[in-house]
Symmetry: C2
Subunit: 350 residues, 2 copies
DNA sequence: TTGTAAGCGTTATCAG
DNA sequence: CTGATAACGCTTACAA
């Protein structure tokens, strides 16, 4: 039973509650030894709620991700936790991509946490407009609610990454390059499509509407999108897939259809994976440091919690890197690095 | 600013605080309409801390896992969250396999949560012995602290699963069967080794000490263990690997050493993975429902929170299943099912 | 149904 | 350095 209160301790030692409280806060008190002993004897532990009620702080930060089960989001969470150190503990909300659950969860957050790291499932919601009232700072990661300025964010360099991916395919001689994209209404979906289109344009490759498939960032979506591409009269010879889950789906579709990668179709994905070098064939991807994104988000948030909005909102970006393995073939040698060797050069820019 | 208090609302309407409080608790009050309006106008939201201080409940459950980044643990977390529903929110602690951080985190938990779902990183710690004092119920998942009875737990059927794995290899005609095991001091490490040994014994295969390698459940550990096995004068022809991460490491070692799976060596892993059917070759594994484990743990915990320990501790177990793909070869046809087709028959037994 | 008042456990203020 | 006292915002007897 840990229901001993500060008053019990005070009584036992024969001092006032305030003295014990001061001892606990590290002030010098006369009977510190006997207080120490009494605390141990009574197995006293301060009541956090009472403390919080006084201070108005909770020592908690909420992290909302669409799905912890996605290794990419898990890495963000882990990065945030590491950056929080001993100062803050994490409340995790993983809504399973359900915007309604997410909204409900946000509503329940008020008063429970000192800040929020937020990877929204859908970006066209308007719950967030209530945040102005919600009395705690918010940092967006990877996605950012439409038309919402005034918030900090930590994004990936989607355009550059997607352009690198597309250029890599172009360098291999492809011109029939498809793109299985995330929702055009999402920050990463939009950004990556922009990068893809920009790269095509720069290479003077005419864009083919059949080769742009908007999907939904899920395994099933990627599977269906790839099936659609395979059904085309004139199949693409290369595909850039817009995220990790859709890449898995696309690969399953290719495998099921017995289409050889990279000989019949080259594949490049966005976001790396622990198993990317073990799949058949080892997967060439654009990678970025999700752990770092989480950590940056947390440190930005902690600054806000400490200092408020005296500084203007930050828009952080994390670099993307090309990790070349074998799913695009190896005809293009000049860009080739050791397969399976990650180039970990993630850095940040504002 | 959400700093309006119940007293502000009361003042605005011209009633007492208790009336507003009653309205909030769903009681019938005369001026409910005007109270409703005042709450909206003032943007009043109840202060959770104050409420908690009164009730002594936090509405939070802690979930401690060694690493959220491991998809298996992520699934446990997600399962727990789903089972929690709207009643409880999750505090996540993922210590990166650091027992010291874990211990520190546990210490800070008291008073913050109403209960704990605990997957310990190390099972020989004794922090947990303080739990008796810690005033909140604990449910262990997957692992269980040494010599600790009196707690609820939700484990996997490690023995049976490991025996299935080993038998599968035996059915393929193997007799030189190695086992890359987790720590013998851990529940799953120990259980799976027992299953492995039992299956060997039943098949009257003499056990070879070189073929038992105790490792640490990490990718690197699995890699090194496999490298060790490959260096043996008399290599095993089949390996049962004790968890998902070590299996990844083992596969990397095999790939690097250009050893063909399954022709030169058959591999079976413990715990399935989203990508298991895409790796080369598609991986045969023992699978169990981690999501279910998390959910069962949560519902058990919620019972304890509600009803206390009036019922004796439950020891739940989740079934393991054999998922046959191609990493063990296909010489043994009678057990063969459609490759890549999961048999989802997870159920529970006490 | 309503209001008054006490109390949850802590910390901050202010006199001593 | 110490102790009494008043908050923090809410709930809940108890009385009206």
């Amino acid at each position: 039973m840990s229901n001993a209160t500060i008053s019990d301790v005070a009584k036992k030692v024969g001092v006032s509650e305030s003295t014990v409280s001061r001892y606990l806060s590290g002030f010098k008190v006369r009977n510190s030894e006997s207080i120490k002993k009494a605390i141990k004897d009574l197995n006293y532990r301060p009541n956090i709620m009472a403390r919080n009620l006084k201070s108005g702080k909770t020592g908690m930060v909420a992290v909302i991700v669409p799905d912890v089960t996605n290794p990419f989001f898990a890495a963000i969470v882990r990065g945030a936790e590491v950056a929080a150190g001993d100062d803050y503990m994490l409340q995790l909300i993983s809504t399973g991509d359900d915007p309604e659950k997410e909204e409900a969860a946000i509503r329940r957050l008020s008063g429970r946490v000192d800040g929020l790291i937020y990877v929204p499932a859908k970006e066209d919601t308007d719950v967030i407009t209530e945040f102005a009232d919600y009395s705690f700072p918010v940092v967006f990661v990877d996605r950012v609610i439409n038309n919402l300025r005034g918030f900090d964010s930590v994004l990936a360099d989607n355009q550059t990454g997607a352009a690198m991916a597309t250029n890599h395919l172009i360098d291999h001689g492809h011109t029939a390059i498809a793109h299985i994209a995330g929702p055009a209404a999402s920050t990463p979906g939009k950004g990556r499509t922009e990068g893809y289109l920009a790269a095509l344009k720069k290479a003077k490759i005419e864009k083919n509407h059949d080769y742009y498939v908007e999907s939904d960032f899920t395994v099933l979506g990627g599977y269906q999108a790839m099936m659609g591409l395979l059904a085309l009269k004139r199949r693409p010879t290369a595909v850039f897939v817009g995220n990790n889950l859709m890449t898995i789906g696309a690969l399953k579709a290719l495998k099921e259809s017995k289409v050889n990668v990279p000989d019949e179709i080259a594949v490049i994905g966005f976001d790396d994976h622990e198993l990317s070098d073990l799949v058949d064939p080892p997967l060439t991807v654009i990678s970025r440091d999700a752990h770092l994104q989480g950590a940056l988000a947390m440190s930005t948030l902690l600054e806000r919690i400490r200092d408020g909005y005296q500084f203007p909102p930050k828009q952080l970006k994390v670099d993307s890197n090309l990790v070349i393995r074998q799913s695009c073939g190896s005809t293009c040698l000049y860009r080739k690095t050791d397969a399976d060797k990650k180039i970990l050069s993630s850095s940040t820019s504002s």
